[in-house]
Amino acid sequence: MKIIVENLRREFGQTVAVNDVSFQFESGQIFGFVGPNGAGKTTSMRIMATLDEPTAGDVRLDNLSVVEDPERARHLIGFVPDELRAYWDTTVNDYIDFFARAYGLRGDVREQAVLSVEEFTNTAGIRDKQLRSLSKGMKQRVSLARALVSDPQFLILDEPAAGLDPRARIELRELLVLLANQGKAIFISSHILAELTEICHGAVIIEQGRILDAGETGSLIERRREKLTYALRALSDPTKLLRDLLEMPHVDQPRQAGHEIQFDVEGAEENAFEVLNLIIQRGHRVIEFRQTKANLEDIFMNITEGKVQ
């Protein structure tokens, strides 16, 4: 399935929350949605999830328009909001079971579906617990289970990792990779950009309702990176090494980062080779020299200005 977002626009009075947003991705891909607070991420996601209506534009799942036919589109969409509001007097199992019923699953099929998503999201152990007594991480799992119970082909997750501890984040990431491998299209917004870099096939960077850049993660990083950053570890005095680096050609902003020295190298990779040669020539005993991998966070910081509407 191909998800095509076309010239999406959403106005709230005089405020343009989403302005001519277009991008596309397809089944099996995890696509990140990156932007500062107030950039229009949640509004766009709500439109994609049929929760809101755009002022203009459309979102199509193959040939199915979510604007024209939201009822049919809902069969294909699973939405995980940033927060799961707890129902009163409802257990985890009742909650998931309710949504299985709401999506028309009956009898054994429903029971099987509920059991399988509980197992998949590791919520089977808490199925009889009241929703309101759950931790944030557990609530996110339940929210994911709810979204998955109808077996949607397109999963939208709005800040699913917010407030989760590192373990829960890693587990969530693994679940998402599994779901993508299963052929689902996943659209995820998150502030934890470093993690998105690892799992996302592509990303959309948005600010003030407008797309700043979009595309496959690798090419996005390559396209946006102006300098190559290198990390160096040597068995010599770091102060002297930093001083020497400052004198070398092509080197910019040498700095100490923990046990290593980092610096940017302008121009092509040949320049890095030249710099390494010079370092060795000056008698520094280099034990590690590598190019650091830029991630979405670097790109995000480079191209956004932190403006909100």
Binding site: E6, F23, R85, F99, E216
Partner: protein, 538 residues
């Protein structure tokens, strides 16, 4: 048994076993069964019933051994206790839960599942009815027990319970409507206190009058049982169903997204309901030979038309693609559809037509009455007062609504359309208020009741109350002229808006496919291309 013969029956059995129970019903009942609020109230109510019954038997026996008719006492006390519990607790419980679900659109994702709004409201109503039945099943044994103590008969008990039950259902549905109304929480609470509170006390008063006032007992033993009591009960049941239907449709409209054609079912239903109301009261009027039966028609449909105009101008003007897709292509069908589809102008016109159609029906009935009944339908001097006077309210409301729309769409187009409703209210109140204040400041007198103030709807009531027939009729005609003039001015001011509203009502034509940017390269699914356990159901 061979597989071929067993398959159809087993498939039927499986379908029956997997009967699609309304999910909202199941969820709400599960929540209620787990709720200590419900269980606690029910247990407390049972304890009170037990103590009342025991106390009444012990003390009643001791005090009035000779008469020994304890039935009405027990019935009244238990009935009142269950009324208070069920009429207050159940609507509040259901209303608060429903309101909490709608506080944020993200709060309850059932509203974006594949369930239709009808199914959601149906589930809510079903679970409410079930809860009411639960409470009544606790009360009814005690109420029937009062029969054994003499002084009250079983049909009276059962009819009283049925009346109480139906009113309770309406109150609970009203609570659902208030909870789902697109209002701020504070406004919902105020509406619940004023509208809900009054409805509860009115319902208790109705049940009290029917039971304590012996209306039911007298009706059951009446000589005109078939001629009067049964038609009365049938009318009550029909009205109950009609009102319940209206509350259901309003609740459905409230949770239907504005991009859907939520006006169609509601307007269709209100049109049907108005027709049923007209037929019902005209029949009563004809057969009872009582002209006053037409008053509920005028008041009911008048209230719908005028209040409807207040609310409909606060909605959106544009038609969503979803709505446009369903506009008929046939010109005649499209013309009819215009009045029933979303849109401010279409709603205003529909309400005005509803009122004019009602007046036409009443006028036709008037002619029939004058030709076939013994007396005249209306006193000749009151004819103009009845038709023109009452219609002035609808005409003025229409004119003010159009002016409110013009003020909003011209000066504050980017602000919420609810401002138009505010302008409508201000247009009604402010001119009259200013006139009254200035007149008082300069003359130290109040406005004379005999004055005619063209353009001011508040003055219509004063004019209608004028006892001088000639003067009243003249003033009514002045008001009619001013209302029509205001409508013409408002239509002229809104010319561009009217044109847009009419021209946008055409079937949707999908644009040809546009070329989209190139997709990103296909993903690398990685070495772990494993499907998660069980989840892959495809």
């Amino acid at each position: 048994m061979s597989e071929s013969t067993s398959s159809p029956s087993s498939a039927l059995l499986t379908r029956l076993l997997q009967f699609d129970v309304n999910p909202v019903w199941v969820k709400d009942l599960r929540q209620a069964s787990r709720s200590w609020t419900v269980t606690g109230t029910l247990l407390l109510m049972l304890l009170v019933f037990y103590l009342i019954s025991l106390g009444a038997v012990i003390f009643g026996e001791a005090q009035n051994r000779a008469a020994n008719y304890l039935g009405p006492t027990i019935f009244g006390t238990i009935g009142l206790t269950s009324l208070v519990a069920a009429y207050i607790f159940i609507p509040i419980y259901i209303g608060v839960r429903t309101m909490m679900e709608r506080i944020s659109i993200n709060a309850d994702l059932q509203y974006i599942s594949i369930m239709s709004p009808q199914k959601i409201i149906g589930g809510k109503v079903l679970s409410s009815v079930y809860l009411i039945v639960l409470f009544y099943s606790a009360a009814v044994p005690f109420l029937v027990f009062s029969y054994l103590l003499r002084g009250i008969d079983l049909p009276t008990i059962l009819l009283a319970v049925a009346l109480t039950f139906t009113l309770n259902v309406l109150l609970t549905m009203g609570a659902i409507v208030i909870a789902l109304a697109p209002l701020h929480t504070v406004m919902k609470i105020l509406a619940a206190l004023f509208v809900g509170g009054n409805a509860i006390f009115t319902s208790i008063w109705i049940v009290g009058a029917a039971v304590a006032g012996s209306v039911i007992t007298r009706g059951l033993s009446s000589a005109n049982f078939w001629e009067e009591f049964i038609p009365f009960v049938a009318t009550y049941l029909v009205d109950f169903l009609i009102l319940a239907g209206l509350l259901y449709q309003v609740a459905v409209a409230f949770i239907t997204p504005s991009s859907a054609n939520r006006s169609l079912p509601l307007r269709r239903y209100v049109t049907f309901m108005s027709g049923a109301m007209i037929i019902q009261f005209l029949l009563w009027s004809w057969f009872e030979q009582e002209e006053a039966f037409v008053i509920p028609i005028v008041l009911g449909i008048g209230a719908i038309s005028i209040l409807g105009m207040f609310f409909c101008i606060g909605g959106r003007d544009d038609l969503s693609i979803r709505v446009k897709r369903t506009i008929p292509t046939n010109p005649f069908r499209r013309f009819i559809a215009f009045f029933f589809y979303n849109g401010t102008l279409s709603c205003l016109l529909w309400l005005l037509i509803l009122w004019l159609a009602t007046m036409t029906c009443l006028f036709g009935f008037n002619i029939l009455w004058d030709n076939h009944q013994t007396g005249t339908f209306l006193d000749e001097s009151q004819t103009l007062n009845f038709y023109v006077g009452s219609s002035l309210y609808a005409l003025y409301a229409f004119a003010y609504a159009l002016l409110g729309v013009w003020l909003h769409r011209t000066f504050f187009p980017k602000r919420t359309p609810k401002l138009a409703t505010l302008f409508l209210v201000l247009l009604i109140i402010l001119p009259f208020l200013f006139l009254m204040i200035f007149y008082f400041i300069f003359t130290q007198k109040m406005i004379d009741e005999d004055w005619v103030l063209p353009g001011m709807v508040i003055n219509v009531g004063m004019v209608m109350a004028n006892s001088n027939d000639d003067e009243r009729n003249l003033h009514l005609m002045v008001h009619l002229g001013s209302a029509l003039f205001m409508i013409l001015v408002a239509l002229a001011l809104n010319f561009k808006w009217l044109k847009t509203q009419i021209t946008q009502f055409c079937p949707y034509e999908r644009k040809p496919e546009t070329t989209t940017p190139l997709p990103p390269p296909p993903p690398s699914t990685g070495p772990n291309n494993e499907l998660p356990p069980v989840l892959d159901r495809g």
